[in-house]
Symmetry: C2
Subunit: 414 residues, 2 copies
């Protein structure tokens, strides 16, 4: 079974009710709309701002206000959530504009200055939509769970390792819980956690706040201490693979139930590494993590999860390697169905939790045939310990995935 890149994108779009450009970072021509008049003038600097920067701001209506000095510009716009809000210039050459209310949580955005799309100098920068660019966190009612607190601190660590698959050094991040440092003989379970299309290995710790969520969950006794490993699921080019931008969208292995670890032989191409990532995970990453860190190196202590495209990779990789991971999570990444699992004896015997989630605004994933809730019910019917979660009033964005990790982490390794 082969899926083309186009089919994967169409499939994700259908699931998430997003436009291709917003999701996949294609050049955008968002419509220009008037700046909005706020009814509450209680704007405060965003938590995602660079230190000491006043703009961008957010008010209690969750409107975003941007400001930049551009004395000689003829147009400046705030480009967020598919619209460019037209900013206006004061007598000092300073432009200001305000968006409509945004959902709670993290959003990518940028400024448009006379046709140039650039990062806002006021914000910190995050990797998404295939570029480092501005992000803004809109305060959420439940933000406590991803706020840094004075609890025992684990740490997110940068990792370089040699890949036998790509024959290059690769780069990832590993979260080690506080007890990894305080209890120097204890071994821990590991969750392999993947980002979405247009993102990279920094997403889960920066936008996703993985380290903070885990420290808080462990401190409250809601999750057992475990390690989280985060890699780049797209930047995987094997020797001989076509260079980026020169094709390479050919093969997507798709689910290969009953195959052993790393089976299926080399698959060339695979849009930017979607598919080759399985090889890197099984042949390079897991052996590196289990060799270098104090890890309980067995199936019952190994989990995989991912968001959006990373959820599809989790789907594909855990089906193709049915005895490798006991816990599986797909966040806004579609569903497992009973058809593909009903005869998957190894998978069913191995799996202890199968978790599927989506944002409440992702109508394609929470209503109708493709609903994560319905999928979980169906899977329970064939003996799978399936769980579903719907994040209230969020879309195909990081607030959905922070909450999904928070839920999933409480279910695994118990």
């Amino acid at each position: 079974m082969f899926l083309s890149m186009k089919k994967i994108i169409v499939s994700l779009m259908a699931l998430s009710s997003l436009t291709a450009s917003a999701q996949f970072g294609a050049p955008r021509e968002n419509p220009k709309v008037p700046s909005v008049v706020a009814s509450v003038e209680d704007f405060k600097p965003a938590s995602t701002n660079q230190g000491g920067k006043q703009y961008p701001m957010v008010n209690s209506e969750r409107m975003v206000r941007a400001q930049i000095k551009a004395p000689d510009a003829t147009f400046v716009g705030l480009d967020i959530a598919g619209k460019i809000y037209i900013m206006t210039k004061d007598e000092n050459g300073v432009w200001t504009g305000t968006s409509e209310p945004q959902d709670e949580g993290f959003h990518y955005y940028q400024l448009n200055i006379d046709g140039a799309s650039v990062p806002d100098p006021g914000s910190k920068y995050y990797y998404g939509a295939s570029r480092w660019g501005s992000g803004i966190d809109v305060p959420a009612k439940d933000e406590e769970f991803y706020t840094v607190k004075n609890v025992p601190q684990g740490s997110v660590n940068e990792v370089y390792y040699w890949s036998t698959v790509t024959e290059k050094m690769r780069h990832g991040y590993i979260y080690l819980p506080a007890e990894y440092y305080s209890n120097p003989t204890k071994k821990f379970p590991v969750l392999y956690l993947q980002h979405g299309m247009g993102e990279n290995e920094t997403g889960w710790s920066a936008q996703g706040k993985t380290g903070i969520i885990m420290d808080n969950l462990i401190a409250e006794g809601k999750a057992v201490p475990f390690i989280v490993y985060m890699d780049n699921g797209l930047d995987v080019r094997r020797p001989g693979d076509p260079a980026p931008g020169q094709g390479g969208f050919g093969g997507f292995g798709g689910p290969r139930p009953q195959g052993g670890p790393g089976q299926g032989g080399p698959r060339r191409g695979g849009f930017g590494g979607f598919n080759a990532f399985q090889d890197v995970l099984i042949k390079d990453i897991i052996p590196m993590v289990e060799g270098k860190y104090r890890v309980i190196a067995d199936t019952e202590h190994r989990a995989m999860a991912g968001l959006s495209m990373g959820g599809m990779q989790t789907h594909s990789i855990t089906l193709a390697n049915p005895t490798t991971f006991a816990y599986v999570g797909m966040f806004s990444g579609g569903t497992f169905n009973t058809e593909e699992l009903k005869d998957a004896a190894d998978f069913k015997k191995t799996n202890k939790v199968l978790f599927m989630s989506a944002g409440g605004r992702e109508t394609g994933m929470v209503e109708g045939d493709r609903s994560v809730v319905k999928a979980a019910e169906n899977l329970k019917g064939i003996g799978i310990n399936a769980h579903s979660y719907v994040s209230p009033e969020t879309a195909h964005e990081w607030q959905t995935w922070r909450r999904s990790l928070y839920q999933f982490a409480q279910l695994i390794f118990k």
Copy 2:
């Protein structure tokens, strides 16, 4: 002895022959100059570019070429090393411009679009000049020492900790050598390493490439394995300290020889934390590092170094805490003089290496009375094991400090 913030800045400027605006991130009005015609058209994407981005580029003459689409702009400039190179627009609205040759190594830069100073969407972003913004690495003849290689990998780890001084959670980075993981009972020495004015705790690992330099040095047997801890030396506000931008430039404690660790009592103000950082280092950071990590917690296994302002902090803190650190390094941060050390019995008895370095283009630090070379000679005369290093053909920039770390790391804990 009190120094005002202005005096510190003037002092650093005199040492480094830099303008205040370039060094300290004050608003700049750099002159606009014509784009340069390259004699060699062998431009390649910079190593500091975002994945897949073609621009900015560097050629073998070390000229930097930037490009951005801004169809409606009337002016676009490449703002680097104190000049704004005027870019020109093609028929597709794409602007291109080329700078004069730059020194080897890392440089901050930005684009100017119709008067707005913004990051270049093609580069990765680094914290310097008091903002996250564009950086570019110009290839250097000696870049091998800071290139990732397939050698045993330590890791740079993110650290949050509670500060009793600021009564807030604080944030730093710690480099743990490969052997920290492979040899789970071994304890290691620690170098406390500080950034410069307008930079933060990310500088040494991102621009400075500390983890890569250390892994390579240790793999070659040129340095003993040791830990490096990097914190923010400016963002230190104690309860009751004036808020940023509301004064707080009053007190700079200056050298206090013969004082014990943490002595001197609370000092309010201290421009943005320059001075309060001593309290955080002695009372919070060192106890946290020595409590949480496997560290040899004695003077002979403790070093402090810093660049520019971080070098001045090292000067001040190691004099005020003369029995705390056995190894001391100042990179482009001035010199110790014989006058302040000749009667400093505790410092002299404790110190094993005193290292002072500067870039060869920092004339104020390599020629005349304030030369690091001359200072080291003078200090040897009073029994100090002083070393100096001058980085060839570099200025008050990161290539000087990468090389300084590379030199200093080979001298300490031996």
